[in-house]
């Protein structure tokens, strides 16, 4: 039987990459501390900052919201109902319930009202659902935060998400994306500061935190994420991790420490200007969301 490193009670959690066994209470404490350390390491925000957490009803965003609240940060939730049938219904219900449980406000919008549900958009747009979804999420998050006086957006991206993206960007040598792969994206050109306080927390660690804190989260996968290549990369990296614990954390952390600074030295940044229609920052005259809206409108007129 493994014993907790701190109190020698029976351990529930063993973290191979940190060679650490912990009981329930000490694990929850360890998790909060690790989030706090990450916030400080990357100078993400301070106690007096108002933070908007992007919540989806999944383990990562709810665990993040919980940890920030435990640590004494003023973190409110923002939820977008994507209109993906039962999946969206359940995730909205769980998110609402959770916000009541921790006593923090949750702001909700519905894509059905703003544009149209993802399954409908998907009929008119050939891009993968996940990329359309990511685009609209980024757009409404940024707009809502600005309109409501939030200076910081926090998302639940975990170590496995970041390592999988880093791996994919490295396979393709996508310098443009590698240059932006940092757990803090500064405020600039109409974009609000975005941070990822779970970037050094693995997916399993975040799920264990949710389970041990009694968070009810949506375990089902979004039906549209099926076959996402990011899962293949995650499975592959986890095979390496099993053989040699700590690989993912090293891959990601050492990129940030050694490679990221070098990439920053080469200058050439896209120029952003306000979208002609809505005023949100964009590379083109018209931003991608307004563009999508125009396209959908045109197609509807044709019907």
């Amino acid at each position: 039987m493994r014993k907790c490193f701190k109190c020698s009670q029976k351990a529930q959690v063993y973290l191979p990459q940190h060679r650490l066994s912990l009981c329930k209470d000490h694990y929850l404490e360890w998790f909060d501390n690790r989030v706090e350390k990450t916030i400080k390491e990357f100078k993400m925000f301070k106690k007096e900052d108002k933070i908007l957490v992007a919540v989806s009803g999944g383990k990562d965003s709810l665990s993040l919201w919980k940890a920030l609240t435990n640590l004494g940060y003023q973190a409110d939730g923002f939820y977008i109902n994507l209109g993906i049938g039962e999946y969206s219904e359940t995730s909205e219900k769980l998110t609402t319930k959770f916000s009541e449980k921790i006593g923090r406000p949750l702001y909700k919008i519905s894509l059905k009202q703003e544009i149209m549900p993802i399954p409908e958009i998907k009929k008119h747009d050939s891009r993968p659902a996940c990329s359309v979804c990511g685009m609209v999420k980024r757009y409404y998050m940024n707009k809502f935060a600005k309109d409501n006086g939030y200076k910081i957006i926090a998302t639940g991206h975990n170590l496995d998400d970041e390592a999988a993206v880093l791996f994919s960007n490295t396979l393709n040598w996508s310098i443009k994306y590698l240059k932006r792969q940092y757990p803090v994206l500064p405020e600039e050109d109409g974009f609000i500061r975005k941070v990822k306080p779970l970037c050094k927390i693995s997916e399993k660690e975040s799920a264990m935190y949710a389970v041990l804190s009694g968070i009810e989260y949506i375990e089902e996968e979004c039906p549209f994420s099926e076959g996402a290549t990011s899962i293949d990369y995650k499975v592959f990296l986890s095979q390496l991790e099993e053989k040699s614990p700590g690989t993912k954390l090293r891959f990601y952390s050492e990129f940030l420490r050694k490679m990221y600074p070098i990439l920053q030295k080469s200058e050439e940044k896209p120029v952003l200007k306000p979208c002609k229609i809505c005023g949100e920052p964009s590379i083109n005259e018209i931003c991608s969301v307004c563009n999508l809206k125009l396209k959908l409108k045109k197609q509807e007129e044709r019907v």
Binding site: C133, G134, T155, E220, C222
Partner: protein
């Protein structure tokens, strides 16, 4: 034995030819790695070598998720 497990919001019956298995056998039966999945037995997270019997309430958590975009 037939073992009832809760997995991703659903109940599944796993079939083993022994009456006692280990948590890692349950993960293996579902094709999951211990790097991103774990077993909750009677409300507690357990080590991969923990014994599981038919009387245990078993929940398997698969932490891997896809489609997240920054």
């Amino acid at each position: 034995m037939d073992l009832k497990v809760k997995y991703r919001g659903q109940e599944k019956i796993l079939n083993f030819d022994k009456d006692k298995v280990k948590a890692k056998d349950v993960l293996k039966a579902l094709g999951l790695s211990k790097d991103f999945a774990f077993v909750v037995k009677n409300g507690e997270i357990v080590d991969e070598n923990e014994t599981i019997t038919q009387n245990d309430e078993v929940r398997v958590i698969n932490a891997i998720s896809g489609g997240k975009i920054s």
